[in-house]
């Protein structure tokens, strides 16, 4: 079925939909999908379907999975602090690092093009450091995290408008 070439996320979605389907067919399909999809027992959040075979994820685990999928955090103009609404998501990232000491990430800080280039390089670092400190306070180890700022040199979107600027003021969590 080519499932292995899917990203885990897509595989998880597929498994999830098949799990729902399984409620009115055999459960073998579900098992096949799970073996093909590797670690994606994510999808069998089968509480909804009533299947009890794989150990159901707790609400907390589901929230964690959800949070770890968010790897880009956006910032307001001229502001280096991450948004309050990202706090919980970042807490999950910190716990994930704490629970997986071998995991390494890189925080890449970026700015929009307004203001001078060197200042934006420093602003990108300040943004990334804000997240770095939060992750450490919440359990991650300093050694797991590398910080690099690209300033305004690697925009996510080109364009001299607020939409592009908002997309460019960001910190990205990148796996290493």
């Amino acid at each position: 079925m080519g499932t292995q070439s899917y990203s885990i996320f897509k595989a998880a979605l597929l498994v999830f939909s098949l799990a729902l389907f399984a409620a009115c067919s055999s459960t073998e399909d579900v098992d096949d999908q799970q073996s093909a999809g590797g670690e994606s027992d994510t999808g069998s959040s089968a509480q909804t379907s009533g299947t009890s075979e794989p150990p159901p994820l707790t609400a907390e685990e589901i929230a964690m999975q959800e949070a770890l999928r968010t790897t880009i955090f956006y910032f307001d103009f001229d502001i280096a602090e991450f948004k309050a609404e990202d706090r919980d998501t970042l807490t999950y990232h910190a716990r994930d690092l704490a629970g997986n000491p071998d995991r390494r990430i890189r925080l890449e800080g970026h700015a929009d093009e307004r203001g001078t280039r060197e200042y934006n390089l420093a602003l990108g670092e300040r943004r990334a450091n804000g997240i770095l400190n939060y992750l450490i306070v919440n359990g991650a180890s300093r050694a797991q995290i590398e910080v690099v700022s690209y300033g305004e040199e690697r925009p996510a979107e080109t364009g001299t408008n607020e939409t592009a600027y908002a997309a460019n003021r960001r910190v990205e969590i990148v796996g290493r």
Binding site: F77, R114, T116, R117, E118, Y119, A122, E125, G151, T160
Partner: protein
Amino acid sequence: MKTHRSLLAIILLAVNAAAYAQLSIQITQGVDNPIPIAVVPFQTAGIGFGAEDVARVVANDLEQVGEFRALERENLLSMPSEQSEVFFRDWQVMAQDYLLVGKVTGTPGSQLVQVQYEFFDVNRELLLAGEILSGSISQLRDIGHEISNIVYEQVTGIRGAFTTQILYVVAEQGPGGNASFRLEKADYDGRRPQVLLRSQEPIMSPNWSPGAQEVAYVSFETDLPRIYTQNIATGQRRQITNYPGINSSPVYSPDGNMLAMVLSKDGSPDIYVQDLRSNELIRVTDHPAIDTEPSWTPDGRSIVFMSDRTGQPQIYQIEIGASSFDVERLTYDCFQCAKARFLPDGNNLVHVRRETRQSPTYQIAIINIETLRVITLTDTSLDESPSLAPNGSMIMYATKYQGRGVLDAVSIDGLVKFRLPSAQGDVREPAWSPFLN
């Protein structure tokens, strides 16, 4: 000559040959009463068709800096090539103040050429300058720029900068969102570009050594911003820094022995100076806010820098070796002032200025730190990276035009502006060379 001396010497290239249309400077703003000058096409002998038109190079140079206006070729009444053929009354009738004539002579069977020029004050009927320059035929453009230097200095009293070069960075978006970056060097007018470094990762902050043999810059080629120097002639490179965090903004000291830079290895970006001979590193500022964009005062004893220690970027100065508390703030009257560098007089500070919080526009300005008088030189909204010509006449800077990064230049009185040609990509961070000869 005195009257002209009071005019600031600043004039750049006009586009008058279709062949140059794509690659020539556009004058976007000029002076009201440019000095009329007749530049007669040089007589040629013994050189092939298609060689560089030396008189055209000179006329373009002079018009570009805004202060001169070259007589149209179709309006020339005669075509003298040396003093014996010059009748001053012809040029007085045409209301020309100055006249340049010359000849280019090739040597059969060799690339060697001789260029003779003579430059006259039409009203005083006086030969002001003249000599014979020689070189290879491929150097005719350089010879033209040299003649422009002499004409410019004769008229304005200011040394010409037509044989100088610029460094700049070009970024191009490739297929699939892959960007590529190039560090390039070109003539001051953007002609004859050469690539010094190509990378898939960003390149920033090119800076000339005072002798122009070397360039320092920031490259992300290892995935992290690190400072390198590169010999321009040999291409030989040296990695100068490998500290954790930001390593940026390298700037050579006036004597070339030191490199000012920004390092965030101790928590936040601060200014440091590294001795290039001993590699000794001296910390200059120590503050938890962002300190960046160092430049040297003309005497080489202090560093001007930007800090947001009061909440927004402002300009400060500190003597090297002084206590980090001994910082003098230079700007107060702007919402943000950044990327500052003194003119050679040590009083006027070129900088990037955002006037108010409400309007996020960035312009190139000069503030006199004694009188606090401010002259805003540009009127576009995303102007940055000002770099001064070595004769102090013009400032080149980066701006946006139709969504693309381009290089513009403005005279230091704000009267003349021109735009450099750029074939493609985003062009940014110009650095004007020192005098090269």
